[in-house]
Amino acid sequence: MRTKPAIRSFQYVAVGLYLIFLGFPLLWLISTSLKSPREFASITPSLLPKSPQISNYTEALQEQGLIRSMANSLQISIATTILVIVVSLPVAYALARFRSRLRPITNGWILVSQVFPVILIVIPLFMILRPLHLTNTIPGVVIVYMVWSMPFALWMLQGYVAAVPRELEEAAAVDGAGRARTIVSIVMPLLRPGLIATAMFTFISAWNEFFFALVLLQDPQLKTLPLVLARFVGAEGQVQIGPLAAASVLATVPSLVFFAFLQRRLTSGLLSGAVKG
């Protein structure tokens, strides 16, 4: 059935407006990063900078060790994402597929674990990690992020596993495939969108996390990006708006690249028609 031209035009306009709505904050951020201090203090702010300048970028890059902190954040976020996916996948599969008394308890614990405020657990966590020499180290932060992200990742993955029809696994079993082969050859490919979505969630959680990094990392060489961005905020509400905007623009680049890379693999509809309705 063909869409009428008028409706199609309306759809394009709606999508265009939605994209403008979504993109406006980024546009405003980029514009701000190119403005001079005098333009920030204008009572009638302009959408575009009157005389664009890159001094905010040079200042952000020179003064705050931004690149190093981005590399740290990237290292931590990627390690956390890989570990969370690798560890969560078999657990999520077991929770989704095997009936046991532990299942409701585990699910209950997953939910309960999400309600603890960070401030409540950070001191005990610090006391545990310190004798293990894991404070002020990247592995220490990765472990904490992994533990912190895993409950929700498990919750997400469990749902995706449950959505894979059992009939496909049964068919594989009939064809002689064992459990492991079935998981690797049948379930994993069908789970790909779920794995990608979970990876994105985990990556973003680690990329943006501030408080654990603040407490655990003291060495300036190990500071993550959110810690460095916080440096642009001073006492009494003073903010270095230009360098902060420039640093924020730069901070979005790695996550945009990561998303662009993964988004192409985030396809859906693989299960359509997999089993006869």
Partner: protein
């Protein structure tokens, strides 16, 4: 059959190990080894960061056995960071923070008594009223370095046009009100005042009228809300709603949010922290002339002092050496450099003199330095639950009053009764 699953688990372990590439936190040096002290600085402006690093470099050059490592911290998160570091025993050797924030740490015994270690020169250089803000039970838990005060900034052209002179040793609140009224005409206002978070302003400037707000100290303190305590909010309210000389939307803005209106000539004066002068220099339109008016005066020019401080953890292994570095930091030239960089007032007269000489008193420095002479300890600085009362009681009550939703008597009752709840 199990191989893929085992491989997955093994891979996770390998990846975990592969991620292990960071540095450790190190330990204390063995006897005879060179000492390295960690100095966590919250310097914010580029100039102050540079000045602080230079102080560290100068110290390191002249003290080969006691090296100081500069660690950059952030004002935004220092309290939470210190809470954990004190608990975990990993606090830096030299801690930069404001006195109001570390008072609680001092009372909990986390900070060393510096009085046996600081030099007599440092002790003599700072007024007793400022030492009081960092002292308890005869112990000195920090060295005060920089101060801020609230000052009135004026648009020179508009003040001149209205025939308002800005000379003299002080500016009475009555004069401020009269000037604001005189400057209010043709859709323009006399005053813009960013009072989005009004408590600090009201309590600090309240000392102009001997406002105490609290009697006693610690958890035994009682609220004391009478006429002196309500004088500043009453006067602001009168200017906003009787004289209509305060631009009403500015009351809901932060101090820096109010600046664009000031630069655009929407109002002729603003009241803000003296450090705002730095934004005036950077952000004011070309040709815009501004000045700092003399310090505000009620029955006195007193304001509360909440100095930036340098302190040392009680568990620190090198308290003596840390205190020696603090002495070095407090030298007039050093303190002047960081004060000038942050547009804050040094706690020592010698450092103020250096800034006065370096700047010629221009860009408001004369008035700003003068406003720092009357800064002293306020009663609320000795009250344990003041931060809770400030956030949960005073700020919302003052916001309601300044929005003209409650009257002065109700404000007083809320401030008074709310203390019982906050201190419970």
């Amino acid at each position: 059959m199990r191989k893929p699953l085992i491989a997955l688990m093994a891979a996770s372990s390998l990846l975990l190990l592969a991620a292990c590439g960071g540095s450790g936190d190190g330990g204390e040096p063995a006897p005879g080894e060179k000492i390295t002290l960690k100095f966590q600085s919250l310097a914010f402006q580029k100039t102050t960061v540079a000045a602080s690093k230079k102080i560290v470099a100068d110290w390191n050059a002249s003290h080969p056995d006691v090296q100081v490592e500069y660690v950059q911290g952030s004002w935004d998160s220092v309290h939470d960071q210190l809470v954990t570091q004190f608990q975990g025993g990993t606090a830096p050797d030299i801690i930069h923070d404001e006195s109001a924030d570390i008072t609680g740490f001092a009372q909990q015994g986390y900070l060393a008594d510096l009085s046996p270690y600081l030099s007599q020169a440092t002790k003599d250089a700072v007024p007793q009223g400022v030492w009081d803000t960092v002292s308890t039970d005869g112990k000195v838990f920090a060295a005060p370095t920089l101060l801020q005060s609230y000052v009135v900034f004026g648009n020179s052209a508009l003040l001149k046009q209205a025939g308002i002179a800005t000379t003299g040793d002080s500016l009475s609140w009555d004069d401020l009100q009269a000037n604001a009224k005189k400057l209010t005409a043709n859709g323009k206002y006399g005053l813009g005042w960013g009072l989005k978070s009004p408590t600090a302003t009201v309590l600090n400037l309240g000392m102009n009228f001997d406002a105490a707000f609290f009697e006693g100290t610690g958890r035994d303190a009682k609220a004391k809300i009478g006429d002196p305590e309500l004088e500043v909010p009453k006067r602001i309210h009168a200017m906003a709603y009787t004289d209509k000389s305060i631009e009403p939307t500015s009351l809901t803005q932060s101090g820096s949010d109010a600046l664009p209106g000031f630069f655009a000539g929407k109002y002729a004066m603003v009241v803000a922290g003296n450090f705002t002068a730095q934004q005036m220099v950077e952000q004011a339109p070309k040709g815009f002339a501004w000045e700092v008016l003399p310090p505000l005066k009620g029955t006195s020019e007193k304001q509360a002092a909440n100095p930036q401080t340098l302190s040392v953890p009680a568990e620190g292994k090198h308290i003596k050496q840390s205190a020696e570095f603090i002495d070095f930091f407090m030298k007039a030239e050093n303190l002047a450099a960081v004060g000038q960089g942050d547009w804050l007032i040094p706690t020592t007269q010698a450092a103020r003199d250096v800034i006065q000489q370096a700047t010629g008193g221009k860009q408001g420095w004369s008035q700003m330095l003068a406003s720092g002479e009357q800064l002293t300890k306020a009663p609320f600085q000795s009250v344990d639950n003041y931060p809770k009362w400030k956030d949960q009681v005073a700020t919302p009550a003052l916001q309601e009053f300044l929005a003209n939703k409650i009257d002065l008597a109700t404000l007083g009752k809320k401030l008074n009764d709310g203390w019982e709840q906050a201190n419970s």
